[in-house]
Symmetry: C4
Subunit: 233 residues, 4 copies
Amino acid sequence: MTDASLEPPLEPISISRRLVAELLGTALLLAIVIGSGIMGERLAGGNDAIALLGNTLSTGAGLVVLITVFGPLSGAHFNPAVTLVFAARRELSWSSATAYIAVQVIGAIAGAWVAHLMFGEQVLQLSQKLRDGPAQALSEAVATFGLVATILGSIRFKPEATPMMVGLYITSAYWFTASTSFANPAVTVARSLSNTFAGIAPSSAPAFIAAQLVGAALAALLFGWLLNETKRP
Amino acid sequence: MTDASLEPPLEPISISRRLVAELLGTALLLAIVIGSGIMGERLAGGNDAIALLGNTLSTGAGLVVLITVFGPLSGAHFNPAVTLVFAARRELSWSSATAYIAVQVIGAIAGAWVAHLMFGEQVLQLSQKLRDGPAQALSEAVATFGLVATILGSIRFKPEATPMMVGLYITSAYWFTASTSFANPAVTVARSLSNTFAGIAPSSAPAFIAAQLVGAALAALLFGWLLNETKRP
Amino acid sequence: MTDASLEPPLEPISISRRLVAELLGTALLLAIVIGSGIMGERLAGGNDAIALLGNTLSTGAGLVVLITVFGPLSGAHFNPAVTLVFAARRELSWSSATAYIAVQVIGAIAGAWVAHLMFGEQVLQLSQKLRDGPAQALSEAVATFGLVATILGSIRFKPEATPMMVGLYITSAYWFTASTSFANPAVTVARSLSNTFAGIAPSSAPAFIAAQLVGAALAALLFGWLLNETKRP
Amino acid sequence: MTDASLEPPLEPISISRRLVAELLGTALLLAIVIGSGIMGERLAGGNDAIALLGNTLSTGAGLVVLITVFGPLSGAHFNPAVTLVFAARRELSWSSATAYIAVQVIGAIAGAWVAHLMFGEQVLQLSQKLRDGPAQALSEAVATFGLVATILGSIRFKPEATPMMVGLYITSAYWFTASTSFANPAVTVARSLSNTFAGIAPSSAPAFIAAQLVGAALAALLFGWLLNETKRP
């Protein structure tokens, strides 16, 4: 129970503590993603690459910390797509999964609002940044495929490094996908409520979420096969 | 006594060595924070995001080193808010805590002056950079909440990684809070004595410090509850 | 079999799984290298150093993850020059090496095309970016010498850190070599098929590949000698 | 003998291998420092902060790799100031120290020339970049004080992390010292032979080296006292 792995089961920890951990962690994640996006955009003088560098550094570093601190409590999913993968693998009950997803979405929205408050922005916003088309959808499918592959592979081969691997993966994926790698339905919902650097128009969100679920499912299937034979007796 | 955890007790080390470690570590921390801010501002050609990238990289990397080297000696608090949390948790005596805070403030001011000397600046300065208002205060409360959560969670679940976690947390928090995350009363005092990139007007400092203490107290309370049930027998 | 070392033998894993791992890993590597290059170039407003910072961050972080996840499956070479070194050291059969190299090249090209699709670029391209002359060739020889030295030294002294060392090495080498350190024949072939930031004109590719093989061979020879005497009994 | 610590004794490794390791490692270090400086300056469009970001990333990451690979062979000093500290602590014979320093200087110069060749620059150069005055000297004393403190503290408390700590320290020090932290007499000599971003006028070099030796001696004295009492029985 002392390693920071994402792997359930975490039975000795009460469900109330697990849900608070999942809610708080997702809220902090969104405060990081949206807050650092605002900071980047405000300071970068119009150069989006410089803004994205700050956004990337903050998100990647923050994720390592959040997963290290909350992983032993709730698994530190912070992500409905990840929770669904663990439920499908029967490593989390469907009732727990449902509760996880609910608090992830609530936490994500709360985190977005905390970011707005910290930067003196209006709390309630709707993004107007369209992110449409097949290239964006493919980006999200690839991004989430890679995230689930990273999680399953790390847990299988080097579980104590899972927080670092997820942080490094997202650091990389912010740059190699055209969508800057949301890779997370709860994050997508919350970012639709922020008309800032990290925002996404609500009308663009459903296709993002669908692509994320497809990518997650493909990774779960392929890595189920790839990792199977290497099981130790 | 060989891991770099922040966790007391550290009894085998004499109080004089512990105070020298705490003073020297805090001085180096401020030399890093203020020095890299000056460097960033001088070189960045007016683009504050680029200056903040250098400031962030230097502070985050430096913190990991300082906590690794001084952690086994003094706990490497470098921060009155952190020292108060440990005292409140009865992991440090109140008399030691008082001495810690005194040398932290002295060290912080000395470090700011060393930074000024290294960059050929006048030693004695007062910052004129106002950082006022509720958004700034909320930022400092969130920043310090996160810092204390990071420290308590890391010590609980992965103590050998505490230096890296604190460094990564501050790397993230420089960007996701509107105040660039001072999160430290001694740092706040010293930065009020530097009219450079990292400075804060003395009139803005008290609200920062109050917000930091509120954030630290909230984290100590919430994580006291969250981490309690996971205790191993 | 649970560490992420590159070191063969990996016999318990079927050759089909190993080849899928090598193909998928190399594809993702190229999606990262070329995708983050496109992202950097599009956002950086003409400042190639900023574009290269994003490209570097993404590639270095991504490599650590890919080698951690795929290393225990296939060795995570992703690189014909590395595969040839292991074959020459008799740590991989020549028949396996041939199959490895084939899937590396196929995967690399596929990854380049995925990057193009994610960014809405035409899939089939040929680079027009000439990278000719002795300075470029020397750069590639040095880059690949350093990469093979990093791999052999890490496996010898700190195998569990090999993924991190390779990621850090490439992070460094993108900047200290004039060629931005391709250091990989499969990567060179795939980048010749992308007329974007990371591209290389097909006419410049053969000299790059030759220089890479020379650098790899020199490192294998020198480190064979350097590392030999330190063997434990 | 398998950890990457800098700590001697390394007796099972022949002196010839140790000197080759020290020479090659120092040469690669200078190729990194000077090469990434040239790359940064060429691409950054006149913004020195952006150039320094690339220079920093490359140097910090490269140092971690070099110390991991060469540490178990030679101790990976790459630095006469560090070698002198170990000799003064009687952890290295004075005759070995003399040989170490000789190959460090030779390797450093060779590495500078390799960087020039990789970037198509004239091999033989003299820097014209004056770095004079007390602020620069203080910067070098602080930089080297911090480097030696980092090394002695890491070896004492977390030896397996020494390569990472030195890399992170230099990452930080490039920004928090006004001199960009040469902190190394061999590096200073070699950089005087490069009229590029990382250069230093030969007339400025002696004061740098003197300040480095003062900083190293102060750190050795202070940390000799600080670390003494924590010895395990």
